[in-house]
Symmetry: C3
Subunit: 332 residues, 3 copies
């Protein structure tokens, strides 16, 4: 898609000032923009740099409405959001189906939709189903009976265990492992040995989820691990068996969830957070980086921030930290 | 294997009540059981739901001995353990040798046992040896001179560096990296540059070990990194060079061990625990989630729990936390 | 290379005592040395064991200058550094170009240098450039327009996203993911949905960097993520978009950096450290294991150690810990 600046402004529901005919082909930062790129400015102080840049068009807030420029100005109350949407519209060619690479192995019983792309050394197992316009990058392994919806994008060397269900417009980054066995054993007290508890449940990932590189999400033991619509998960995150993660949840890198945890919609989980089994993070709770939540604990409060291990309401925890710092200083 | 309920009860050393002729083909949860599944019940309060389920048979504790039902009741003092064993007996077909996939590359000098399965795009290096009934899943890379025992299961895209030795009935989940170089450098104080210390030792993994997805275990620098029999390691764990991990050790997700650490038999290591170099975790010690152990520290005591950073005996640490919380509350 | 002990000593700038004619073919530990290996001794107390070993030659400090032995003694003020360099000189054959494996896929437009090795099931994308004597191990995926310098070594199943630039003598361990999308979204407050912010910048890795197994480094959002010359990164580390990591930085396993962080030259980052966005770790700062640095925080001081969350100067933090321990003991 190569819209004019006017077409782009209209598609974004924004107001156009200046040149409406310049063609826009991509997004960029102010410093790296070329003459057909659109850039964005959120603060008045940066508008001058944008005007001096090579960019064809500038997405900016109302503060830029009076700027005098030959460039196209696209005025909106949410420049960052409009910029993100412009990027999605201008898109890239990566999701154009390019067929099945000659080195890929696709089981005869697998069902592929239209315009599917299967890259080099991919393996697609028995009975797998891959929806229209979905792209599977080099080296990924799609297990038997896996289903993937439309317009999803599996990056290289991703591993999807058998039976996993993945929705539409899902992005899975390189090396992620989805649907692996959970960590469950029963100890034989006579011999002291651990015997494997069956890990035969499923993993279901809803639409519009994005999962980071080398993240691992285990299947349910007997039931289902579930990742809700629109949830975004960063790199190297671990989600254990039977977890129920809600919609529009944000999980930063290296956070870890042991088994049977519930995270409700709109929660925000910081990096390296650890959550114990059967805990519940209620709707809209925010957990600061490295916080730890004990097993079975319930954290509640929309927009309430928790921090520390064991996690406390932020204000309370900060008071403890301050008291501790003072104590330390008293010592000789 | 498709035993009758009576055959299953006998194999489990359990007592059968009711229908001994129903055929059992799989395990399931109570809510998802079909008419040929066996389920299990650990608590009296759940027996009613099990009796109302579709399940063919119920593994339960003595409390269920008086239940009136047309279903097969398999009575044992350890229902969870019996259920785990039933699952293992009923098994699945994944370890049936299916031959060598046409897209796999197996070096001419590699030695394969009987009924070995080598899936798509696997690479097996020079002089590697793979035992009977072992299965190597798609995309895994088995380095030169690697040895793997019998009935082991290597999931997709696993990386096993040259010379690594793996025992029998070992399970390695997707994306795990075994035998990678340790993190060792010598600083040239003149230039300030770090030069690589040789990482030419070995990694040995004993029988019945299970290793989680995307976990990494480094080879010894000059000697051997060793993982003892029956130890279970979760996802995204890091084990550094020269570590000696004992038997029947449990290591939860995202725990990390730097170099030359000893963990003795039957220790239990929580998620996101970090252990410094040359530390020793003695037999049966338990470390709570996110605990941190300083370099060279020795933790001792069978069944003694430690928590916090630096890790303290649990009771002591809880007192400190309580004191800290009180301090915080005193502040205005 | 199979030098004599005299040639090795000269190459190391060290003094030779004893047999100058014995051929040295490898390095080893004292306990595992064979009759053509060189070992090293840093402390007087270990020299006897080295003299009794099978080793052909011993690299040792000045304390060994008076030892009477038929073995070759290579005397230097830095035995460990000399040993590391000896290992590098004696090398191994892994970097000898072995050509392009028949199962690899190399795009017709890719440019390969001399003596390049491309192993089984590797995929090299459109326009990629790979320098002389660089080796790409089995299953790795080299994206379009990636450039890799000379004498670099990419271990198995590494994933390099399109456009990433990698220097000379770089080592990337198995399963690492380089140049993946950063974790950036814009929330549409009307719908509550997160929309993807473009992640179209680049990742640049300079010469002599080593990156551990399953580590992930994200590309810049619009600009560049940069890893400086000689920096060493351990396993399972996460580095977010737009981070600027200096030269000769050490980053231990499972450390995590969110976005737009600066780490200056010669910093040392412990295992499981977490650093918040836009923080700056100044030159030569040391961060203890599991330390946490708040967003936008600046830590300064060459050789100054910080610990705890939020990270404090070590002495200050230890005082707080001591006070806390005393408080805990006062409780009944």
């Amino acid at each position: 898609m190569r819209p004019t600046s006017r077409e782009l402004a209209e598609a974004l529901g924004a107001r156009l000032i200046g040149d409406g005919h310049v063609e826009v082909t991509g997004v960029a930062s102010i410093s790296s923009a070329s003459a057909s790129d659109v850039v964005f400015v959120e603060e008045q102080k940066n508008i001058a740099a944008a005007l001096e840049s090579q960019a064809a068009a500038i997405i900016a807030g109302d503060f830029a409405g009076g700027a005098k420029s030959s460039k196209a100005l696209i005025i909106t109350s949410s420049p960052r959001l409009a910029f993100a949407r412009a990027a999605a519209m201008l898109g890239d060619s990566r999701l154009q189906g390019c067929g099945i690479h000659s080195t890929a192995f696709v089981h005869a019983s697998a069902k592929l939709g239209q315009a599917v792309s299967i890259d080099a050394h991919v393996s697609v197992g028995e009975g797998a189903q891959i929806g229209d316009h979905t792209s599977i990058s080099a080296g990924s392994v799609i297990g038997a009976q896996v289903t993937i919806g439309n317009s999803s994008w599996i990056l290289p060397n991703v591993i999807i265990y058998p039976g996993t269900q993945i929705g539409n417009r899902v992005i899975i980054h390189g090396g992620a492992v989805l649907g692996s066995d959970g960590f469950g054993y029963v100890r034989d007290t006579a011999s002291g040995r651990y015997e494997k508890f069956p890990q035969i449940g499923k993993l279901v990932i809803e639409d519009d989820v994005e999962i980071g590189a080398n993240t691992t999400i285990d299947r349910g033991a007997l039931e289902v691990t579930h990742i809700g619509r629109g949830t975004k998960i960063d790199n190297l995150v671990h989600i254990g068996h039977n977890c129920q993660i809600g919609e529009n949840v944000i999980i930063a890198a290296q956070a870890g969830f042991s088994g049977s945890i519930t995270v409700e919609d709109n929660a925000v989980i910081g990096g390296q957070v650890g959550v114990g089994e059967h805990a519940r993070i209620q709707e809209g709770v925010m957990l600061g980086g490295q916080a730890g939540v004990l097993p079975k604990k319930i954290l509640r409060g929309k927009g309430v921030a928790f921090w520390g291990t064991p996690a406390k309401p932020l204000r309370e925890y900060l008071k403890s930290l301050a008291a501790l710092a003072r104590l330390g200083k008293k010592e000789v």
